[in-house]
Symmetry: C2
DNA sequence: CTGTTAGCGCATTCAA
DNA sequence: TTGAATGCGCTAACAG
């Protein structure tokens, strides 16, 4: 590997001159620059980015930490981050936090191989994140609230209000027997969504039946199994509110397998508005989050933190109910029937 | 930021001793090590990974280059890479090649910020890849064939045979009027798939009608628009072979919008077996690639190249036809009707 | 405009 | 077993 020294030597100039020339500094005469550039080409010189980072003490790169690089994740969110950082002239690298303390994410976080990080990985401990964040290494967390830390900003979706809207949508259409398909209990998202659900039920004075509170781990399979159980129980609700779309899809699969028609016999509603939710049969009613905006905002926050133009602040983003075909008005006769039970 | 110097000072030892202690070397007395570890904890010391990389001249990290981090990409492939590298104790970072020479991918490639790269990004030039690859920076390319370079290995899917199988499947079921929905003309994948299609047509002595050769850029929208055009043309084929699933989905949407039933009135077949292909209505017949294996193999190849246990070699992976519901036997009466045309 | 020089933080060699 | 010294490749302050 040719180094800048070799280039300087071949061009017959000092290393610093070569460096200036290679970095398009105006301090160097055009002809000298020419010589340097030529020498670099001849030697097929490529700057060593690592040495550069070490010296400059910055990388112009932001780290995006996902639980699993192989998805499913919010592609709109990533797109928001990607577009924004590109326009700010920052690089973006993504890595996974799978594997605990040995994960690439943990390594990069601890060893500070970027200028900041955006984290969407619930398996990373708050503590680890808090230890990594500093003034010169701001972090935006997307899936949790970490307050009281000067260099950590939280951007969260208003899950509670989203959950409320979703539940209200069902209630307004005559549903009273509603099951909630829960995600992991340690997930903030899940908790908030459920709180919104509970609030709507309470306002409508509908008691929540424990046997219609199921667990599905936010996965398609989890939703499938939980719904299977629900079906086996015999006493089906008239609607299922799934804590996320993946589980809702699993639930619809289970219902389909059991010959139960959605939405004719049972309504299903999800949360997230993942792309697939437009391609299920029937199309899934769900709650949408402004994911692109979340991503873009996160990138801006990191950027402005680095440039120290910003005081720490946290954000709560609104949600929007997307009504599609998997939910519908409870039929009158069924309503009557059910009330007899 | 505390550096190793601070740790050494606090522990009352030399920097080298601190370094050894921190790296679990056996050259240091247990009690000395203890002191160092404690000092590190007190100072909340975190090693500077960049300095370490510079000194060691390696990063223990592999770079995965995707055209667009925000997908859609082959998640099974990424999973294969991810799992394998993790088991080999290598880190994985992913970045996008969007933005041409300013992209993070180009920077990382040129500045060699990793120990090797796996590339699945057709917008990167062969030349750029060739310039980056060296003995100590092996590259695996997945979407193209680059031979004659000692440090570049190609792992490609047998697209031609896949295209042949898909076309044959249609032909065997009585279809003769088949449109081919093409991806970007500079895409090797697309070209090979089409070649397979042409071969099958030729063997069956079916002429290829230029007006049924459409372009869709491998995107859903591209497939949608191309199919819209096809419909407007008036003379519909009895089957559409889309160069990838995204376009096939776009095509099915266009057909649905026009009230044309799949597969009753027209068969559709895709390529890739993306996850969504199981969730379309009807489910999409397509060609599957062993993506997990491709990813895993690529990771192994990089690893073994780094460890210099390997001679350069290229791989062609087989495909498999996945028959679902979007394709079916051409009805006899239609067959007759068509033959009159 | 150009050259000399001092580190960036760390791992590692060589002496002690 | 420990410590002093060196250099990875680069940038940037400073001096000329």
């Amino acid at each position: 590997m040719a180094t800048i020294k070799d280039v300087a030597k071949l061009a017959g100039v000092a290393v610093s001159t070569a460096s200036y020339a290679l970095n398009q500094s105006s301090k160097v005469a055009p002809q000298t620059a020419r010589k340097v550039i030529d020498a670099a080409r001849v030697l097929n010189y490529q700057k060593n980015g690592i040495a550069r980072d070490l010296k400059r003490n910055k990388t112009d790169t932001i780290l995006l930490i996902l639980h699993n690089l192989a998805g499913p994740f919010y592609s709109e969110l990533v797109r928001g981050v990607q577009d924004t950082l590109q326009s700010l002239n920052y690089g973006l690298i993504a890595c996974s936090s799978m594997g605990g303390r040995d994960s690439t994410a943990s390594r990069f976080l601890a060893e500070r191989r970027a200028d900041g990080a955006i984290i969407l990985a619930s398996n990373l401990g708050d503590q680890e994140i808090e230890r990594a964040a500093r003034k010169d290494f701001p972090i935006v967390v997307l899936d949790r609230l970490i307050l009281n830390h000067d260099s950590i900003m939280s951007v969260v979706v208003d899950n509670k209000s989203g959950g409320y809207e979703a539940a209200k949508h069902l209630i307004d259409r005559g549903h009273r027997d509603i099951a909630y398909l829960s995600g992991p209990l340690d997930s903030r998202d899940n908790l908030q969504r459920r709180k919104g659900f509970e609030q709507a039920m309470q306002e409508a004075a509908i008691p929540i039946r424990p046997k219609w509170l199921l667990k599905g781990e936010f996965t398609r399979q989890g939703g499938y199994l939980a719904t299977k159980m629900l079906i086996l129980q015999g006493d089906l609700p008239s609607a299922i509110f799934a804590g996320n779309d993946e589980m809702a899809i699993g639930a619809m699969n289970a219902l389909k397998d059991a010959g139960i028609k959605v939405p004719r016999q049972i309504s299903v509603i999800g949360f997230d508005d993942i792309e697939m939710s437009r391609y299920t049969t029937p199309q899934l009613t769900t709650v949408s989050q402004a994911n692109y905006e979340v991503g873009s905002l996160s990138a801006h926050l990191i950027y402005r933190s680095i440039k120290e133009e910003i005081a720490k602040k946290d954000y709560i983003m609104p949600t929007e109910l997307i009504i599609r075909d998997s939910s519908r008005e409870l039929m009158k006769e069924v309503r009557g029937q059910r009330e007899q039970v």
